[in-house]
């Protein structure tokens, strides 16, 4: 079906394309990530794919040629956990982010509840509360989401975007951040895993609306029950498929279908205690897992623990910050001070320990904020090339798409960032961005009061 759509779209795309189908950038420094750095060379792009790369890559006749003198070409950045492209999930500006949450000794993890559709309160697991496991992000993409341009201007050519709402939010999709007419053009992989979020629960009727579950242990019990149900559902369905005669027809359950379809699960874990808890939980559920958040990944126990389970992790670039306008009477905990002081050291520690990890923007979409955040990790010991890898090839590997993106190599999708100055310095200038071979100029940075700035990523902060 997708092929058919693509075939229909192709001539149409050709007709309106402002971009040349073949282009070459020459005399540029090329940071391929998967191979050695080419100090002065050429990248050739044809039909949205990288056709050639190297010092002496031949420039095809008729190619539109860009002189890259003094410029550096990087693979396009991949935001490994995002809601870009789903406008209804755009976080509200100015709400407390992870840094703010660090003010309390045991910050909670809360998914974005503001946009959850109103439903009658669940009376128990059988009501499948806050569960839309069958939803594919790809089906919800709105190409007119204004965040697409702002995120792209920060150097992101790709986002792994999730319908991040509720407990079983749905399945994430990898999308290329092109300015498209139709969502289908953007989708690279429609389903990469199920987004799960939990809440610590507050008041007696806290959590997602006034129903079950509302305590953290309720969330865990609910998720456990859903997996038990899915296992049983599968068993019954298979038995019915083998021989339906004389057997009661099993009821179709879209929530369980969505759970069974999911290749892997994403679970939130900021504190060390949560990492331990969620890794054990995923092992119990027998699900491949990616943990996200990782605020306390700097702690000495974290890397060995993560290493033991071998699960990849997504580290939020939204480093802990001191509380703004703190209560002068309130005493800071040692942990919250350490979170601020040592948080950005986490990536380098994970790198040294050999834990597969990627960095994700966690809502930082202004180029300057993003560069500062990555620079903090570099200042705290992460090698620059490892920082770049954690935003390119590593997320591609984690989601199993390193065969088509994440580095500058022949045959891969032509997602590129071209800069003046090395990436992640204070005054690096992003000159142009190529997504699927289409060229974009970065938008002017938004003024402070219009930018979303730091915000909370579903499932991670608060």
């Amino acid at each position: 079906m997708r092929k058919l759509v693509a075939a229909l779209l192709l001539p149409w795309a050709w007709a309106i394309a402002e971009n040349p189908r073949t282009l070459a950038i020459r005399n540029a420094k090329i940071v391929t990530v998967s191979g050695p750095v080419v100090n002065k060379g050429t990248v050739v792009v044809r039909n949205g794919l990288i056709e050639a790369v190297g010092e002496n890559a031949p420039i095809p006749a008729g190619a539109w040629t860009i002189d890259g003198e003094g410029m550096t070409i990087y693979p396009g950045l991949i935001d490994s956990l995002s809601t870009v492209g789903i406008p209804s999930l755009a976080p509200a500006a100015g709400r407390g982010g992870r840094g703010q949450a660090a003010a309390s000794p045991t910050p909670a993890t809360t998914p974005a509840t503001a946009v959850a559709p109103a439903a009658p309160p669940a009376k128990g697991p059988e009501d499948r509360p806050a569960t839309t496991s069958w939803v594919l992000a790809a089906d919800e993409i709105d190409p007119s989401d204004r965040r697409i341009e702002s995120v792209r201007s920060a150097g992101f050519t790709t986002a792994v975007t999730f319908p991040a709402r509720g407990i079983f939010g749905g399945q994430g999709s990898i999308i290329d951040l092109v300015s498209a007419e139709r969502a289908g053009e953007m989708v690279v992989v429609p389903a990469v895993g199920q987004y799960l979020a939990v809440s610590r629960g507050g008041t007696a009727f806290g959590g997602f609306g006034a129903g079950f579950p509302n305590a953290l242990m309720g969330y865990i019990a609910y998720i456990r029950q859903v997996y038990l149900d899915a296992e049983h559902y599968k068993l019954v369905k298979e038995a019915y498929a083998r021989d339906p005669r004389g057997m009661e027809r099993p009821e179709y359950d879209r929530a369980l279908e969505g759970v069974l379809e999911s290749k892997r699960i994403l679970l939130p874990a900021n504190r060390l205690v949560e990492m331990d808890r969620m890794l054990r939980f995923a092992a119990e559920l027998k699900q491949p897992v990616i943990l996200y958040g990782m605020r306390e990944a700097y702690r000495a126990e974290a890397a060995p623990l993560l290493k033991k389970y071998g699960s990849p992790v997504l580290v939020s670039l939204h480093w802990s910050e001191p509380p703004r306008d703190p209560d002068p009477e309130a005493e800071r905990t040692m942990r919250s001070l350490e979170d601020v002081d040592q948080g950005p050291a986490a990536p380098s520690l994970l790198q040294k320990a050999g834990v597969p990890f990627a960095l994700y923007s966690d809502g930082l979409d202004q180029p300057r904020d993003l560069q500062r955040a990555v620079k903090k990790a570099i200042d705290a010991g992460l090698a620059r090339q490892d920082a770049i890898r954690a935003l390119t090839l590593s997320p591609a590997e984690i989601y199993g798409v390193a065969d088509r993106m994440g580095s500058i190599a022949v045959g891969k999708i032509a997602n590129l960032v071209v800069t003046k100055g090395d990436l992640f310095y204070d005054h690096t200038q992003i000159e142009m961005i190529f997504v699927d071979g289409k060229q974009y100029k970065p938008a002017a940075e938004q003024p402070a009061d219009g930018g979303r700035g730091a915000n909370e990523e579903p499932g991670v902060s608060q």
Partner: protein, 447 residues
């Protein structure tokens, strides 16, 4: 290679476990009298207790001259070390949730409990539901991860609750007297609480029958599809099978008798009545049913159903033959359960040993862990608290606390370590202040 060494060290660790001798102490064993002498600890267990003991080689000596050693305190009712809400209050029966899933080994209350001589606690779900969540017994092994805290082998439990708390969500507060601020949840009365418990147990019986039938079919060599596993009914099935202890929150005599009858009807025993402030009125009935009682010393009148309480409750129940313990239900009270025990002497005239038993061997028996902890006897876990004075005195302070023969709290090193910790913290505060003028990271709208 490094992995190998870590693995090797872990497996060899027990061989090199420290031998400790606590000597010159007044040893209050609780079950075997009080004596002057020594306690020998080998491999985390109590190896010898006596006036004169065989000194093991390479033993670390703790000189406790003038000090008192007791089996460390066990709190039969606590809510510390839990992440998130302790109540899954959205449903009347929340047996599907389990405290085990949300242990927070980094809760500072654990360390503070240690400093109060407590090494074992029964961590309970809250009392918002007639049938609440699954409970777990923890050892206060400060510094270990969640799994390392679990009292291995302890029988798991479940919380039941009667009276005002579970019926309160059925009578939600009104905003401006017109509309409830939250939707009401059944039950709203004490009658409804009983009904809810009976209904859930009926469901559990049917569920058990379903699984028994399945097991029978499998035994006959058939290949049936197993029934759906229901996390709400699993623990209740275990209750019916006697594999899970019921710890029931209650206050009034009528509801106490109600619950004992319900348990009788369904063929299981209530393991402990918690709070049970009117237990003194029905002590004979509680004793006859073989049910334990875990109460407060003199904490009462915090709500209507807690008004008819007397500080003689523990002593009266004990005299009537009930197995009685004193609990905290509170992170602060937890730190001085020894004085709570002393109050039973003051009000009820119980003996020193019997008072101490109410926070040591009695809760151990109630939790089914008395073969491991609760008294100073050879073969038991070396879970000990050393006090500078008689632990039943108001002036007594905890000097050292051991779990499995390891020192987890040491008053002296705690005090001497404070300046260094304060300095370290001040350094971070100063560092943060210096970098304050230019906040980095995300920007936020002003105002």
């Amino acid at each position: 290679m490094r992995k190998f060494w870590v693995a090797a060290l872990v497996t060899l660790a027990p061989l090199y476990a420290e031998n400790i001798v606590i000597q010159n102490a007044t040893i209050m064993t609780v079950t075997k009298g009080t004596l002057q002498g020594s306690v020998v600890i080998k491999d985390g267990k109590i190896a010898e207790v006596g006036e004169k003991v065989m000194m093991p080689q390479n033993a670390t000596i703790i000189d406790a001259a003038g000090q008192y050693v007791i089996p460390s305190i066990i709190d039969c009712h606590s809510h510390i070390a839990v992440d998130g809400n302790i109540n899954e209050g959205s449903v009347a029966v929340s047996s599907m949730v389990n405290i085990k899933d949300v242990i927070n080994p980094e809760d500072i209350a654990i360390y503070r409990a240690l400093a109060g001589g407590v090494t074992t606690a029964n961590i309970l779900h809250g009392s918002a539901n007639p049938i609440g969540g699954q409970t777990i017994v923890l050892k206060m092994r400060w510094g270990k991860d969640a799994q390392g805290m679990i009292f291995e082998g302890a029988v798991p439990g479940i919380k039941f609750a009667l009276g005002e708390n579970p019926k309160r969500p059925g009578n939600p507060p009104f905003s401006r007297g017109i509309r409830p601020t939250v939707p009401a949840r059944y039950p709203a009365t004490r009658m409804g609480v009983e009904d809810t418990i009976r209904e859930a147990l009926n469901e559990a019986k049917a569920y058990k029958a379903e699984w028994d039938e399945y097991a029978a079919k499998v035994a006959r060599g058939e290949h049936p599809i197993p029934p759906r596993k229901d996390l709400k009914l699993e623990p209740l099935k275990e209750v019916l099978e006697g594999k899970r202890y019921v710890h029931a929150h209650c206050y009034r005599e009528d509801e106490i008798l109600m619950l004992l009858r319900v348990a009788d009807d369904y063929g299981f025993k209530i393991r402990t009545l918690q709070h049970v402030l009117e237990g003194y009125k029905v002590a004979a009935e509680i004793a006859a049913s073989g049910t334990g009682a875990s109460t407060f010393s003199d904490w009462y009148a915090f709500k209507i159903e807690a008004n008819d309480a007397i500080p003689y409750n523990a002593a009266i129940m004990q005299k009537k033959g009930v197995l009685v313990s004193l609990n905290s239900d509170d992170a602060e009270l937890m730190r001085h359960l020894n004085t709570e025990a002393a109050k039973a002497m003051k009000y009820g005239g119980v003996s020193e040993t019997d008072a101490l038993a109410m926070v040591t061997i009695n809760p151990a028996r109630q939790l089914g862990i008395d073969n491991r902890v609760g008294s100073i006897e050879v073969g038991k876990d070396a879970d000990l608290a050393i006090y500078d004075k008689d632990p039943l005195s108001d002036y007594a302070k905890v000097e050292k606390v051991l779990i499995d023969g390891r020192v987890y709290f040491d008053r002296e090193s705690d005090l001497s370590g404070r300046p260094a910790k304060a300095l370290e913290k001040q350094k971070l505060i100063d560092k943060e202040k210096q970098s304050r003028p230019r906040p980095s990271g995300g920007r936020r709208p002003i105002g």
